[in-house]
C-alpha cells in the first residue's frame, strides 16, 4: 500500500491519526442473499495530537464502525474497501492496513486505547478490580502483582476514585463508578490516543458530569488525544475541541466546536443544533422529518436529500463534494456551492 504523508495543519500540531477516503462496508452473503451495508463511505479525518475530537450523529450512522476502522479492529463481515488509516506514534508513521498482528498487539492499550461502549460487561464479573488491572498491565509490562497493585492504587488516587474499589467485584460498583473504573483501566498505561465509544450513555446527568470531568483530567494530564463518540451534543459541547458530524455513513460537516454550535452550515447540523434546549427560547423544538436511511440502500446523490427541506434537484443525482468553507470548517452540501458561487 502506498504511504501518503498526512496533512499537517497550520496550527503547528501533528496529526496523530489520519484517515483518507475511508470506505468500510459490512458485506454479508448468507444463503445466496448478498447485502452490503455502507456504514462508512468516503470519510477523511485528520485528528491532531492533544485535541478532543467529537464524532456526532444519530444511531446507525456509522459512528462505531468508523471507530472500529480507526482502531484497526476489523473483523468480517466488516470489510475495508478503500482508503487508508495512518498512525503517527513516537514520530513514526504506521499504516494500519499493513501492520502485523504483533505490531497492533504492541501499540494497543499502551499507545492506542479504547473505552468500550456499555461498561456493564466490560469488567470480568468473577475477578476483583485489582486483578483485572493486573491482567491488563501485565499484558504490556512485566510487573509483579504488588507493583501493578501500587500502580493502580496511585493512579486511582490521582483520578480521585476511592481506593476500596480495587478490592471490589464489578457488580458491587454503581454504574457511574464502573464506567469510571473502565476509563481508568483503559488509560492506566497512559496511551497517547484514546477512543471513547459512548462513555456517558445510560448515565444520569450528574454522573455524566463526573465522567466528563474524569476524561478531561486524563486528557489534560498527559496531553493525550481523545476521540469521543456520542450522540449527545451536550457532552460534545462540554468536552470536544472539534466536532465531526456523521450522517448515513458520511461526514457532512466538521468544524471547531464553537463554530458548529454557533453557525452550522449543513442543513442536518442545523437541525441537530436547533433541537438542543436553550435557556432563551421556550419554543417547541422541531424534529427532522423522516427517518435516517437504511445503509444497505442509501439514497442517490446527497444522502440527506429525502429529509432535507432545502433540497434542490441537483441533490437527488449528484453527491455533494466536501467544501472548505473557512480554515478548519468543512461541509458537504450543494447549497453551499451555489450560494458561494
Amino acid at each position: 500500500m502506498k504511504v501518503t504523508t498526512p496533512n499537517v495543519t497550520t496550527q503547528n500540531m501533528t496529526t496523530i491519526v489520519s484517515a483518507k477516503d475511508l470506505q468500510a462496508y459490512y458485506v454479508t452473503n448468507a444463503y445466496g442473499v448478498a447485502r452490503t451495508v455502507k456504514a462508512v463511505d468516503n470519510i477523511s479525518i485528520d485528528i491532531q495530537q492533544g485535541e478532543v475530537y467529537g464524532l456526532a450523529g444519530e444511531s446507525g450512522c456509522g459512528k462505531s464502525t468508523l471507530l472500529k476502522v480507526l482502531l484497526g479492529d476489523i473483523q468480517p463481515p466488516l470489510t475495508v474497501l478503500g482508503g487508508s488509516v495512518h498512525y503517527q506514534l513516537d514520530g513514526e508513521l504506521q499504516d494500519a492496513a499493513t501492520m502485523t498482528v504483533e505490531d497492533k498487539r504492541d501499540i494497543r492499550w499502551r499507545q492506542v486505547s479504547y473505552i468500550p461502549q456499555g461498561s456493564m460487561h466490560v469488567l470480568n464479573p468473577v475477578r476483583r478490580i485489582q486483578d483485572t488491572f493486573h491482567d491488563f498491565i501485565t499484558t504490556h509490562k512485566q510487573t509483579t502483582k504488588r507493583e501493578s497493585k501500587e500502580m493502580t492504587q496511585s493512579y486511582l488516587r490521582d483520578l480521585g476514585l476511592p481506593e476500596k474499589v480495587m478490592r471490589s467485584y464489578p457488580h458491587q460498583l454503581s454504574g457511574g463508578m464502573r464506567q469510571r473504573v473502565t476509563i481508568a483501566l483503559a488509560t492506566i498505561l497512559w496511551p497517547k490516543l484514546i477512543f471513547a465509544d459512548e462513555p456517558t450513555t445510560a448515565l444520569d446527568v450528574v454522573v455524566q458530569r463526573g465522567v466528563i470531568q474524569l476524561l478531561r483530567d486524563i486528557q489534560h494530564k498527559e496531553n493525550s488525544t481523545v476521540v469521543l463518540i456520542t450522540h449527545d451534543l451536550g457532552v460534545h459541547a462540554n468536552l470536544a475541541d472539534r466536532i465531526g458530524v456523521l450522517y448515513a455513513g458520511k461526514l457532512v460537516e466538521e468544524a471547531a466546536t464553537k463554530t458548529i454550535l454557533k453557525s452550522p452550515q449543513h442543513p442536518y447540523t442545523k437541525y441537530l443544533i436547533n433541537s438542543l434546549p436553550s435557556f432563551a427560547g421556550h419554543s417547541a423544538k422541531e424534529s427532522i422529518p423522516g427517518r435516517p436511511p437504511a445503509l444497505d440502500k442509501p439514497p442517490q446523490g446527497c444522502r440527506f436529500h429525502p429529509r432535507c427541506p432545502l433540497a434542490i434537484s441537483k441533490c437527488e443525482h449528484e453527491e455533494p463534494p466536501m467544501l472548505e468553507l473557512a480554515p478548519g470548517h468543512r461541509a458537504a452540501c450543494h447549497l453551499l456551492t451555489s450560494s458561494s458561487a
Binding site: R110, P116, V126, R127, R167, Q172
Partner: protein
C-alpha cells in the same frame, strides 16, 4: 483452594458431604493396613454376627466383612476415579477445542459428541461386559466407563466457552493485546473451575452406580473386591435366606453413604454456582 474453604464455610450440605467422604477416605486408607489379604478365605471363623472382634461380622467364606469393605471401597473408588479422569479429561479437552476453535473443528467434534450422546450406555456396557467376560479387570471397567461418559460434559464446556467468548470483557481483553493463553487461564478459568468440580462429582456418581449395577449382574471382574461384587457374592451364598443380613447390609449401606456424600457435595457446588447465592456470599465476605 479458596473455593473449597468458601464452600465449607457457606454451604451446610457441602460440609456434611465432606465429613461423610472423609470417613469413606479413612476406610479406603485403612485397607492398606488390613491384617488379611483381600481374597484370603477361612481367615476368621465363619458366619459370625457383628461383635467386638468382628465389627461387621464375617461371611460364609470365613472373611471379615469390615476389612472386605475397606478393599471394596478402595477398588470401587479406583474404578470411579479412573472413569472420571478419562471421561472428564476427554470432555474438557474436546469442549474447549470446539468452543475456542469453532468453525470446522466445532462442526466435526459436535457431530461426534452428538452421536455419542444418543448411544444408550447401560445396554452397551452390558454387551461389552458379556463379550469380554472373564478378561475384564476392574481397571478395564474404569477405562470403559470413562470412554462412555464424556459426551455430555464436553457439551457443557463448549456451551460455557461459547458464551464466555462473546462477553464484552473477553473482547476488551483481546483488543488490549492479551494473549489467548492468558485470557483462557486468567479470565475464563475462574468460570470453568466450579463447573468442573460439580462435573467431577456427578461423574463419580455415574461411575459408582454403573460399577455396582454391572457387578450385581455378575458382569464385572468378580474376583476383585468392590462394593458391587460384595453384594453379588452375598447374594450368591444366600445371605438373605440364611439370615446373615450383615453380609449384604455392609456394602449396601456403604454404597448409599458414598453416593449420598458425593450428592451432598454436588448439591453444595450447585448452590455455589448459582449466581444469585454467589452474590450474597461475595457481599458477606467484603
Amino acid at each position: 483452594m479458596k473455593i473449597l474453604i468458601d464452600l465449607i464455610r457457606f454451604s451446610p450440605s457441602f460440609r456434611v458431604g465432606t465429613m461423610i467422604l472423609s470417613i469413606v477416605v479413612t476406610l479406603l486408607v485403612m485397607s492398606f493396613f488390613s491384617p488379611y489379604e483381600a481374597d484370603e478365605r477361612r481367615a476368621v471363623p465363619r458366619n459370625e454376627p457383628p461383635s467386638r472382634n468382628y465389627i461387621l461380622g464375617t461371611n460364609s467364606q470365613g472373611q471379615d466383612v469390615f476389612w472386605m469393605l475397606t478393599f471394596g471401597i478402595r477398588n470401587s473408588l479406583i474404578v470411579a476415579g479412573l472413569a472420571v479422569a478419562i471421561g472428564r479429561g476427554i470432555g474438557v479437552i474436546l469442549g474447549l477445542v470446539s468452543g475456542y476453535l469453532g468453525g470446522l473443528w466445532d462442526r466435526v467434534l459436535s457431530s461426534v459428541v452428538d452421536s455419542f450422546i444418543v448411544i444408550p450406555r447401560l445396554p452397551l456396557l452390558i454387551l461389552i461386559a458379556v463379550m469380554v467376560r472373564g478378561q475384564l479387570t476392574f481397571i478395564g471397567l474404569g477405562i470403559i466407563l470413562g470412554l462412555l461418559d464424556w459426551a455430555f460434559p464436553s457439551k457443557r464446556y463448549r456451551a460455557q466457552i461459547l458464551s464466555l467468548k462473546e462477553r464484552d470483557f473477553t473482547q476488551t481483553a483481546v483488543f488490549s493485546g492479551m494473549r489467548t493463553f492468558k485470557i483462557v487461564t486468567q479470565e475464563h478459568l475462574p468460570f470453568i473451575t466450579p463447573l468442573l468440580l460439580a462435573d467431577i462429582v456427578s461423574g463419580f456418581l455415574f461411575a459408582l452406580g454403573m460399577e455396582v449395577t454391572l457387578a450385581i449382574f455378575g458382569l464385572s471382574d468378580m474376583d476383585t473386591q468392590t462394593i458391587g461384587t460384595m453384594i453379588y457374592w452375598g447374594n450368591y451364598y444366600q445371605a438373605l435366606l440364611t439370615n446373615r443380613i450383615w453380609v449384604l447390609a455392609a456394602p449396601i449401606i456403604a454404597s448409599v453413604v458414598v453416593v449420598v456424600g458425593f450428592y451432598l457435595i454436588s448439591l453444595g457446588l450447585t448452590t455455589y454456582l448459582d449466581p444469585r447465592t454467589r452474590l450474597v456470599r461475595l457481599q458477606a465476605q467484603s
